[in-house]
Amino acid sequence: MKKVKALLTFPPGDIGKPITYHLVKDYDLWVNILHAEIAATKTGKLVLDIEGEEDNIDRAVIFLGEQGVKFRLLNGSVALSEEKCIHCGACTSVCPSGSLYMEKPAWTLVFLKDKCYACQLCVKACPVRAITVTI
């Protein structure tokens, strides 16, 4: 058994296919949806924990490609440098997991590593480069 975290990106308008159903039914995968952004006319995003036989995961990735769904492994680990952080908050509004937030009333940046999907949007959003990814 293998467990991976992945970001699935759907082309705009492609919301008619029951992708997660196929992952479960055809490839015997345990799928846990961590985050979903689906809209009729916009690029769709799904962040998933996927658990199953390695061979099945590999075949599922090929299936996703055939469906026009982009598959990206989220295998990094995000780290926040306390020394560099200036607690501006610029990273908080791009964080889909809620793992980066401003603790009030002190307005101190808090990073909950356990909640992080490693989507890495915060890495680019941080103006003082206090957030890095390690693989």
Binding site: A39, T41, I86, G89, A90, S93, V94, K124, P127
Partner: protein, 404 residues
């Protein structure tokens, strides 16, 4: 007539008897005791901000080499500085990019490295003159090895600033940070009720000559800032709705501290600098106490759609800083996360530090030698075909969101 003069307050500061509170603390005092009693009891409030301010830079004088050089082109750690001044004078601007490292290193990083006491590589070229024969120089400098190093920021402390969002279907990268598609987030940049010019909205006490805290050092308001726009629309409390007044600030880099001034990179936009500014505001009378009592719920700004690449971007909605500070706001009936770009935490440290310095008698107030203009308007730049078309004065149509 005012209750107190600058001189009376300074005398109290010298005697260490001045009552100094932060701009956040006075709000409670005015609410509890009213502006009249608050003005009698409190002498000074300290305001502060720590946000990205692109219009930041420094003048440097390197001293003369032997043989001497009249530097024409100047680089500091491969970042071009402006050398079109006297022989060994240069200006390094915060947003100038490195010729070797691109977006990841720029003028702001050079300034931060100098403040941190690091060695910086100086390279310069010249055409050579009879009095300055050397044509090329490469050496290392520190803030201590050179003569003068003073920050001169043409525009800091924007009095309010537009908030930013993105209606398009693509992520955009702006000086207001990363803006996610389909109104995915809203970014704003101010310390709101702690911000200097929001506590003195009509520039009664902050003017040319005002002594300020700049990046850890004592500095001064040198002039009105660029794009100073006091005629911005104002609410009943005199607080402008959108970007209005600005300050040009000057201060000694050799006395600064990197805790209060930091280089920054905005993805796919460029390099800028977080500048820590603290300004003491004397509570001269009841009106000043009333101004200082302003709350985030009474300070409004507009949210602009930054996906429209135009000078006049569409306004999506008007919102108070209380709502922005809540962590989300409504756009088209949907909850959208909001985030600040300026650090309230560091700004509070500055306000507390300035308060302590004034209370200890180490920081006296300087009465402005000239007020900031109260009637100037921001002009636009028109693209015209011929020189004669450029004569007409164009006023209005301002870029209200407060471009950096």
């Amino acid at each position: 007539m005012p209750f107190k003069s600058f001189d009376e307050i300074n005398q109290k500061i010298r005697e260490k008897k001045a009552v100094v509170v932060t701009a956040e603390e006075i709000k409670e005092i005015v609410q509890e005791k009213g502006p009249g009693r608050a003005a009698k009891e409190v002498d000074v409030i300290t305001t502060a901000t720590f946000g990205p301010m692109c219009s930041t830079g420094a003048f440097l004088n390197f001293g003369h080499s032997d043989p001497p050089i009249r530097m024409s082109k100047v680089w500091l750690n491969d970042v071009p500085a402006y050398g079109g001044l006297a022989a060994v004078d240069a200006f390094i601007g915060a947003t100038e990019l490195s010729e070797t490292k691109g977006f990841e290193y720029g003028g702001a990083h050079v300034i931060e490295d100098l403040i941190a006491g690091k060695k910086v590589k100086l390279r310069a070229t010249s055409y050579g003159t009879d009095c300055y024969p050397l044509r090329e120089i490469e050496t290392w400098i520190t803030k201590e090895s050179i003569n003068q190093a003073y920050m001169f920021n043409p525009r800091n402390c924007y009095q309010n600033c537009g908030a930013a969002t993105n209606s398009s279907d693509k992520t955009i990268y702006t000086y207001m940070g990363t803006l996610l598609p389909a109104f995915g987030n809203v970014n704003y940049s101010t310390t709101g009720e702690l911000s200097p010019l929001l506590n003195d909205p009509l520039y009664r006490t902050i003017g040319i000559g005002t002594r300020v805290f700049l990046g850890g050092a004592q500095g001064y308001v040198a002039w009105q800032g660029t794009q100073h726009n006091p005629c911005q629309t104002r609410g009943e409390n005199s607080v402008p709705i959108g970007s209005a007044g600005t300050l040009a600030l000057i201060g000694d880099i050799k006395e600064m501290d990197t805790r209060f001034i930091r280089a920054a990179v905005f993805e796919k936009y460029g390099v800028t600098m977080f500048v820590g500014v603290g300004i003491p505001v004397p509570v001269l009378d009841e009106e000043m106490a009333t101004f200082a009592a302003v709350r985030n719920k009474d300070i409004y700004t507009n949210v602009y759609d930054y996906s429209v690449p135009s000078r006049s971007r569409p306004i999506i909605s008007r919102v108070s800083y209380e709502e922005l500070r809540s962590g989300n706001m409504a756009i088209n009936g949907r909850k959208v996360p909001t985030a600040p770009l300026s650090s309230l935490k560091v700004a509070r440290e500055i306000a507390d530090l300035l308060k302590a310095r004034i209370a200890a008698g180490e920081f006296l107030l300087q009465e402005p030698v000239m007020p900031l203009p109260s009637d100037s308007r921001q002009k636009t730049l028109e693209i015209v075909e011929a020189a004669e078309d450029a004569t007409a004065s164009r006023v209005g149509g301002t870029r209200e969101e407060g471009s950096r």
